[in-house]
Amino acid sequence: MTEYVNIYINGRKYEAKNGEMLLSVARRNGIYVPSLCYEEALGAYGSCRMCIVEVIAGEQKGITTSCSLACTKDLKVETDTQEIIKHRKILIELYLAQAPNSEKIRELANKYGVKNTRFKRKIEKKDPLDNKCILCGLCVRTCNELIGRGVINFINRGYKTKVNTPYFESSEICMGCKACLEVCPTDAITITDKGDTRILSSWSNTTVKMEKCIGCGKFSVPEPIRKKMDSKFFYEDEVLKNLCPDCRKKLITKKVTLISEKKVEQYVK
């Protein structure tokens, strides 16, 4: 049974599940705490450090990351003390230097009034992630833990860390699902579709074949995904199998409308 506790964020009382992460509670209640590496489906990871808050009362007193702070009875936190803001601004400066091309980081910087970075910008000529990656780890974790593929991983250590396919070789196991691109907080990943091919230029130019939709004729579903779905799902109507999501939606709507129209007819009679 879920147990609920009262907690206090910036002096106001909120209800939280016992053990729930503070960042989730804040998000649910519309309290802004910046975060770049937290996805509820994946759990806390702690790499971006932006979500720091100050615990005033509770077990882990002091400054700690809210994505890993479990709510307990009468936990009291402040999310925007002077000190927290000071640290966040410096972290943003670090990000500006690390990912100088990222629009998202610049937006964040503007929000905090950080105009510039005092640190040397790291710009690499042929960066597959376009000098936008902040190594938050979300793409790696999504591909490993949620998609179950493990196409990409961390390479090297320390400030030489990079994210990519092992040995920068194009991948044989990528499904082309784009989940990595979806979760990336800095829009660092480039994936483009060309004819019947999906090209993951960020991931060592991995390519994935696409299938044509028998409805509209567009290449829309990556082959490996189709194959996987075939083995996993049972389609009531075989036609659905070879349609793209858009056409599938259309067909289903049509069917439903047809059925309801018939019902209406019957009703009117």
């Binding site: 702690g46 790499s47 971006c48 450090r49 640290h87 230097a97 640190f119 961390f154 250590r157 320390g158």
Partner: protein, 639 residues
Amino acid sequence: MKITSLEDLENIARKGLKKLNPDNKVRISVGFATCGISVGGDDVFKTFKEKIYERKLNNLELCKTGCIGFCGEEPLVNIKMPGKSIVVLHRVTPNDVDDILQKIENETYEFHKAFFKIDDWDHVTSKIHYGDGYENIPKWNEIKFFKPTKRVVLRNSGIINPEDIDEYIAVGGYRSLYKVIKSMTPDEIIEEVKKSGLRGRGGAGFPTGLKWEFAKKEQSDVKYVICNADEGDPGAYMNRNEMESDPHMIIEGMIIGAYATGATEGIIYIRAEYPLAVERFKKAINDAKKYGLLGEKILGSNFNFDIIVTEGAGAFVCGEETALIASVEGEIGRPRLKPPYPAQKGLWGKPTNINNVETWSNVPVIIAKGGDWFSKLGTQKSPGTKVFSLVGKVKNVGLVEVELGTTIDRIVNYIGNDGVNNGKIKAVQTGGPSGGCIPENLFNTPIDYEHLAAVGSIMGSGGIVVMDDDTCMVDTAKYFLDFSIDESCGKCVSCREGLKHMHDILDDITKGKATFEDIDTLKELAQTVKVTSLCGLGKTASNPVLTTLKYFYKEYEEHVKHKRCFARVCKDLIRYVIAKDECTGCTICAKRCPVNAINGEKGKPHIISQNVCVKCGICYDVCKFNSVKKLSEAIGGEK
């Protein structure tokens, strides 16, 4: 033979004592830990073996022992004649062997390399009177290096043969295990450890008894205990020595901890660079199994527990407990967020209790002598002793074990016997690469967890590096940062990016290219990295920077304002010149200069072309008349 009763243990103890303190034989033991071996201890051992064979000395026992701690005086050789004290000879070379054996044969006891003698020794778990004699040789505890020390962890180091379980049993070993299995409940053991006040020696100082209690409370069919022997700090080697000199004390501690927490399996995670320790552990584990002290039905009880040795992945951060666990599981060694703590979800998701080598070493003593006895050592908040590795610019270097609360001054100036070359000691750095630098005017600081933290440093694993006027503090901060940068796992932004930028700023300062704003930026960044890093590595890596900024700001200022390095270390801020009236024109410097920067005729003063010189320092080193000067003068601004 399996030991099941106290009588069995006593029988083995008697056997062991005959080897350790024979009454009808001469025993020669050679210091055979890595420190001794590295300066020729193995050659000495080999020579003894050959010569004993040549001389057909049957009534003589040659064996290995660990390190007594005085590493600067190795190779050490212990000579034990029947009934007499142990004489410890220092700096022994293979050439001394014949002379030593001759004297033993002649029964003249004047060994010319005699250093000190041991008549009585407190093994803590027992006391042994080894013998008497040698009026002219000082007792071990009369010499400065040993006088203020208190040996609890190093209770057997350098005396017993670490490869012989019988000798460990002879000095009271495995009695504590016997005691807990036969007469104590897990709760009583934990109570005793809590009462002792023992805190983790791996750096953070967390109360050990409390940690054990957490692990015990968890319900699980499988639980683990781990011995953290990853010791990755440069310059620190106390754990290595403890393992090489007395592996059984650690194993005994682990078995007791396993019994108390309900663990079924133990893992010793040991740095791969420590092959001798691995070897000794493996032998010790085998020997303990043969005696039924480890494995199934320990001491005839229903308690089963086994230990395996795992070699580390070779990264400093793998010493961090969650990274260590990931590494044992075959993952990359990156720390993860806590909670959950290892006690809740550790190795393979099971409750795991992890302690440092030295923490485990203290356990048998606490059981043998009682928590109360232990808590009276050291200070109230930091009871017990700690082994430190004392290195750097002091005369005596080695491992020193003192009660916590001993002042830095006592360790550095008394035990260390002052600076080398009578140079003034300027600072010490404690706690490894992420510790702080403490200036000389704070040397009255007692060494314990709280006092070190108060001056901006840490206990860490117990490294003490002594620095004198030849050390530039900015360069030192940069040097330690270099280490942390290489070891950062790269997971969190603060440590991964922050340390690199701190380094770049420090580099600019040492090159005379920085401004005062850069120093401010450095300080701000250092604070953010300290507060916001994910694991202990990043949280402490700023310490050398923050403390040198605090205590040696003047040096930073000099680098920035006057482009001058007081210690004349920073290459870009020094100049080599030849003093005209001191140069004899011997030409040696000109001959040795790799870039031909020195000109001059024989017999006439030489001159260095500054724009050619690459500042290698060779001329400075080779000039016999000290006419080459290393200068760092103020540029821009008053002198």
